[in-house]
């Protein structure tokens, strides 16, 4: 069984984000870019499934400008077998990613599609769900545990939901999106970095895949959230009630 994993190139999680002065977006020039942390977890899960003998191949997919190849190389250095780069210079919104993924799934025919639950740059949390809808595949999102049964061709997924943990059983092929507690991703070791240099990365364009990615969304403005104001000391219960009523407007 083949597993396909999407990996997104985003601004590194530890970087302090700054909004561009013209408010059209955030500063990405000279800023460190890395693999989306949830995608790392997704790839790690795919690798573990392959290592347990339940899958034969892990294919990493990334969509975006030419630098996405760096992210794919990291994925290959972690242990993925092959990479696919869909080159596009426009913003990749979840619906477009989902449509392209559908086409790639038709070509590669994986038994499992694993994605990070969301990207840390747009926080959309939509791609996994959309592609499952487009493919008409079952989905297990926010996975905190995944157990595969090869014989019965099902995946049992524990989902982290607001009221606790929900366990679902999905028929394969299925879509899984990963949450933080699923696993701890491995480091890229030197022997694997060496091996990664000879692993193939196939290139596609959205046009070749017959997907139109003209954006139907326009980012109007990006602003910083308001700075936290310092607290105010009150000296009596009456004062507190008065402030809650008339200033905070919460009672």
């Amino acid at each position: 069984m083949k597993i396909m994993v999407t990996v997104k190139r985003v601004i590194d999680y530890a970087v302090k984000i700054r909004v561009k002065p013209d408010k059209t977006g955030v500063v990405t020039q000279n800023v460190k870019m890395s693999m989306n942390p949830f995608c790392e977890i997704a790839l790690e899960e795919a690798l573990r499934i392959r290592e347990s003998g339940l899958a034969s191949e892990v294919v990493a997919v990334s969509m975006g400008p030419s630098q996405c190849v760096d992210t794919l190389r990291t994925g290959l250095a972690m242990g993925a077998d092959r990479g696919i780069h869909v080159e596009a210079n426009d913003s990749m919104y979840p619906l477009f990613v989902a449509k392209i993924l559908k086409k790639l799934v038709e070509i590669e025919k994986p038994g499992l599609l694993i994605l990070g639950k969301q990207a840390i740059d747009d926080d959309c949390n939509q791609t996994g769900q959309m592609v499952a809808g487009l493919l008409n595949w079952p989905q297990g999102t926010f996975a905190s545990k995944v157990v595969l049964d090869k014989e019965k061709q099902v995946a049992t997924v524990d989902r982290e939901v607001d009221d606790g943990i929900e366990t679902l059983c999905l028929n394969l092929p299925a879509v899984i999106t990963t949450d933080l507690r699923l696993n701890q991703p491995r480091y890229a070791t030197l022997p694997n970095i060496m091996k990664a240099k000879s692993k193939p990365i196939k290139k596609f364009t959205p046009k070749e895949l017959n997907v139109d990615i003209k954006p139907d969304l326009e980012i109007v403005e990006v602003t910083e959230p308001p700075k936290r104001k310092s607290g105010v000391l009150v000296f009596s219960v009456d004062e507190l009630i008065e402030k809650l009523k008339h200033e905070a407007n919460v009672i």
């Binding site: 590194d12 990291t74 890229a188 070791t189 970095i193």
Partner: protein, 459 residues
């Protein structure tokens, strides 16, 4: 006030607990220096205090962040503590030249955050950055993790304002890269640990922050591989090398056992030595290529048994935590005897091995440090302080270092702990000259007495 006095009394380690009678702590309270008049008024405080103490022959001990490891800021008898902590203003910063002028009480990490916003970094970095103050760093000529790239404070400090024992203020606070006018006296205050004057302001050259930082943690099978790796790194990584640290297997075990959340990236196999290499440059892809080529080449030449390359900032911080967390892990493990020596690189680890065989099962001897600078931090971890164990360690460690013409204190300074041991690394004539200078600048010996120079010379 009582609690603070208590903290000041007991801050330094547990080896030499000096619970002395502190009668007086003077914290210099400084507001924002906006005008020259205000500026003039503030440093008069330190000046007035010293002038008065000098006239009454009252000993004084300057204190900053109290992170020193040789008791340099511990009051020994009845010294008046002069704390510089409240003098924590950044006075000016020139964005073109990167020259920063600030007061001595600024905490290193705070300065780093300020510079980060401006696109610059400090030329020094150490584990104690959250508490140590720049005045103390300068007074002890602190080394740290980036010395291999940016050099020592003697090169980076452009100017100093210091107050002498008799209250005279020496304004040598230049912001010039080059100034060959007379004797460069600021160097007397860099590294003299407060014994020649109290540093009140510092002007320092800060390097620009470069965007591409890469960190790799490598495993080596023996010490000679670490050495050869260093040679290769200096050659192949050259100008982008910004840190080269090593730690032995015992240090790694200590960290993974005692530090929360720390895990060994090479969990499946045990290695004898680990090396942390950091590169800092301006071009992400070319730096990464250079580093990868170097690492893969070293692997083919069997200098490295295994290695991991950090793929994001989080992973890089994790690797650094392993190296920087050794001190913390040592404290959690029990009592520790700490030594900091500079020895020719080829002999560096022999000291650890000899100490290990000397102490046997009585202690856990670990070695780690700034291999790039030939600086070993030798630590002996025991469950409790024990005079018998100490007698096995000292003076052996000093004699051994002396025989190899090494320094008994590479970067930690001499303080109280090693004042009488200074002859292991300096000739009598040199120490005599030091004493002459001390007598000239502090004739009443009020500044940080019992420290730096041997008691036989200063009494």
């Amino acid at each position: 006030m009582m609690m603070m006095l208590d903290t000041l009394r007991r801050f330094w380690g547990r080896k030499m607990l000096y619970r002395m009678k502190i009668s007086l702590v003077l914290q210099i309270l400084i507001g924002c220096i906006n005008t020259k008049a205000q500026a003039n008024s503030f440093y008069n405080h330190v000046s007035q205090i010293l002038k008065y103490c000098n006239s009454r022959c009252l000993a004084v001990v300057p204190q900053g962040g109290n992170t020193g490891l040789v008791g340099g800021s511990v009051p020994v008898f009845d010294e008046v503590i002069v704390s510089l902590s409240s003098m924590n203003n950044i006075i000016s910063f020139d964005k073109v030249s990167g020259i920063l002028v600030c007061e001595a009480g600024c905490i290193l990490e705070n300065i780093m955050s300020f510079l980060d916003n401006e696109g610059f970094i400090m030329p020094l970095d150490l584990g104690a950055k959250g508490s140590c103050q720049i005045g103390g760093n300068v007074s002890t000529n602190a080394g740290g993790l980036r010395l291999v790239r940016y050099g020592s404070l003697h090169g980076n400090v452009l100017g100093v304002e210091a107050v002498l024992a008799n209250g005279t203020v020496l304004d040598m606070l230049k912001t010039l890269r080059k100034d060959n006018t007379g004797y460069d006296l600021k160097h007397l205050f860099i590294g003299s640990e407060g014994s020649l004057g109290i540093v009140t302001k510092v002007s320092i050259l800060t390097p620009p922050k470069l965007s591409s930082v890469n960190v790799a943690l490598l495993a080596c099978k023996d010490y000679s591989c670490c050495q050869k790796l260093l040679q290769e790194a200096k050659r192949k990584l050259g100008e982008i090398l910004s840190a080269f640290e090593f730690l032995d297997g015992q240090s790694m075990d200590l960290v993974t056992n005692h530090l929360e959340g720390a895990r060994n990236p090479f969990s499946t196999s045990h290695h004898n030595f680990y090396v942390l290499i950091e590169t800092t440059g301006s071009d992400e892809s070319s730096d990464k290529q250079k580093l990868e080529a170097f690492l893969l080449g070293s692997m083919e030449n069997e200098l490295i048994a295994d290695g991991v390359l950090a793929q994001d900032i989080n992973q890089a911080s994790t690797f650094w935590r392993i190296r920087e967390g050794i001190s913390e892990a040592l404290m959690k493990a029990g009592a520790v005897y700490k030594y900091d020596v500079s020895i020719p690189v080829e002999n560096l680890y022999n000291l650890v091995e000899e100490m290990r065989s000397r102490l046997g099962d009585a202690a856990n001897v670990i070695g780690y440090g700034h291999l790039g600078d030939g600086n070993l931090h030798l630590n002996v971890s025991v469950s409790q302080y024990d005079e018998k164990i100490l007698s096995q360690i000292e003076p052996f460690v000093y004699e051994w270092t002396s025989k190899k013409r090494g320094s008994i204190s590479a970067e930690h300074g001499v303080g109280l702990m090693k004042a009488n041991e200074i002859f292991y690394s300096q000739s009598h004539e040199t120490v005599q000259m030091m004493a002459s200078i001390k007598n000239l600048m502090d004739p009443n010996h009020i500044l940080n007495p019992y420290k730096v120079l041997p008691h036989s010379i200063t009494s």
